[in-house]
Symmetry: C2
Subunit: 238 residues, 2 copies
DNA sequence: TCAAAAGTGTTGCATCTACACCCATGT
DNA sequence: ACATGGGTGTAGATGCAACACTTTTGA
């Protein structure tokens, strides 16, 4: 006595990272895969795959991520379940996740891939303001993911998901500025994040240019506390 | 070349309304259905059903709602897609929505049902602080829906989804107080909602006791504007 | 005229914003 | 020494919580 016939369940992921652009500024970027099959053959799409019977959606998203980039995300959260009848020729419900990657992880991994000679040909990173035409409703999905990120950065410490273990306040501020698309006052930014209590100052400093800047790291004791009763089971943080 | 075999897609809805309790105060309440079949036979569960091939998830949620209560919601939004492998004996992904009903709609409809003698026997309304043991992971789902509501009431005008077309500020404030579980200062509340610009004052007054209170109605010109690029297609408002 | 709710004013406190200013280091 | 980013101080604006106060009705 079961119904729901002929509906397939897919999982896709919007994987965001901060990439250093040619002018030195940080820009949001994400990987897309070139489709080899119809529908939408030869168009770019979000990485993803079918949900298998043995895994939860969030596990499927993590697997997708590993298969595409070889990386584990610093942050992973469900975005939305898209299921409009006409969003694909066949009936597909896509549970979409969004993930953040540390920029140093990304560069290291890309270098390793290139050195091993097995860099995936059909995967490419795009700056979010230079996206190609996308398959399905993936353009709208990315818009929504970026909206969520920009929204969430205001009341959560997700931005730290872009940065390495230890970072300076200027680096964190640059991440915020790239996400929000506007300049922030360094003095006020410092006070705000210090007051939030999300950072632990280390006794190490980033040296090299001008006055050394203190390095901070994430205070994992403080809960992300913005997912409500959906705790760590449904959100992956590293 | 399709996979995702054996996974069924269900839709459930957390349908919330404000009910006047025995002591005269407003309390959040929701309808549950008594399951007649295994798994979890004879336990209470969220209303829902299978997603059919011809309808989108949000349409399925609206259909569910109509079948259960005969009502159309004043607000309907996707909550989350739950898909843990062990959440049901068979593999089921549930796309869960949450909806708000106007309290006067509810009472009218319940009265009509009772008069017609075809009130559904296996549906009952429960106050959210007196919920029975629930089937599946539905307890956690309701917790999450209530968290979202309490969260959203702070930056959106969702609370007006509980009220009739025209209402006084005291009635709106009472809705907020019931949702948030604490008293609000009438003076400050007035200034806040007036400044938000979500209300249109009418030239009518609620009379009957003491000084008449001006009636207000929802300003539908102002976008809800808290769903981002997911516009009206994915959110139903009446 | 009195109780009670509607509605207005005011004060103090916390927070944000803008920007002046000092500090420490590489060149 | 000086340019540059790191870091601190501060005055004005804004927003919010608390609460005194006035207004308008039913009884």
């Amino acid at each position: 006595m079961t119904q729901s016939g002929g509906i397939q369940v897919a999982v896709s992921t919007v994987i965001l990272t901060l990439r250093r652009g040619e002018d030195g500024s940080a820009v949001l970027a994400l990987p897309l895969v070139l489709r080899t099959r119809d529908p939408y053959a030869d168009q770019w799409a979000l990485p993803g795959g079918w949900l298998t019977a043995a895994e939860s959606p969030v596990d499927a998203a993590a697997r997708t991520l590993a298969e595409t980039t070889g990386l584990s995300p610093s942050y992973l959260e469900q975005l939305y379940a898209f299921g409009a009848v006409d969003r694909s020729p066949t009936r597909v419900v896509s549970i979409v996740y969004w993930a953040l990657l540390r920029q140093d992880d990304v560069t290291a991994q890309i270098a390793a891939h290139r050195a091993s000679g097995r860099a995936p040909e059909n995967v490419r990173w795009f700056d979010v303001d230079e996206l190609p035409e996308l398959a399905f409703d993936h353009s709208r999905i990315i818009d929504y993911a970026l909206w969520r990120l920009r929204n969430k950065v205001g009341y959560s410490r997700v931005a730290q998901g872009f940065l390495p273990e230890e970072f300076t306040l200027a680096e964190l501020r640059e991440a915020y500025e790239s996400i929000l698309g506007r300049q922030l006052d360094p003095a006020n930014f410092r006070r705000q994040v210090e007051a939030a209590g999300n950072l632990i100052p280390t006794d190490r400093f980033r040296t090299g240019s001008h006055r050394p800047a203190r390095l901070y790291r994430d205070n994992t004791d403080v809960e992300l506390a913005d997912r409500g009763p959906l705790g760590p089971e449904e959100t992956s943080t590293r």
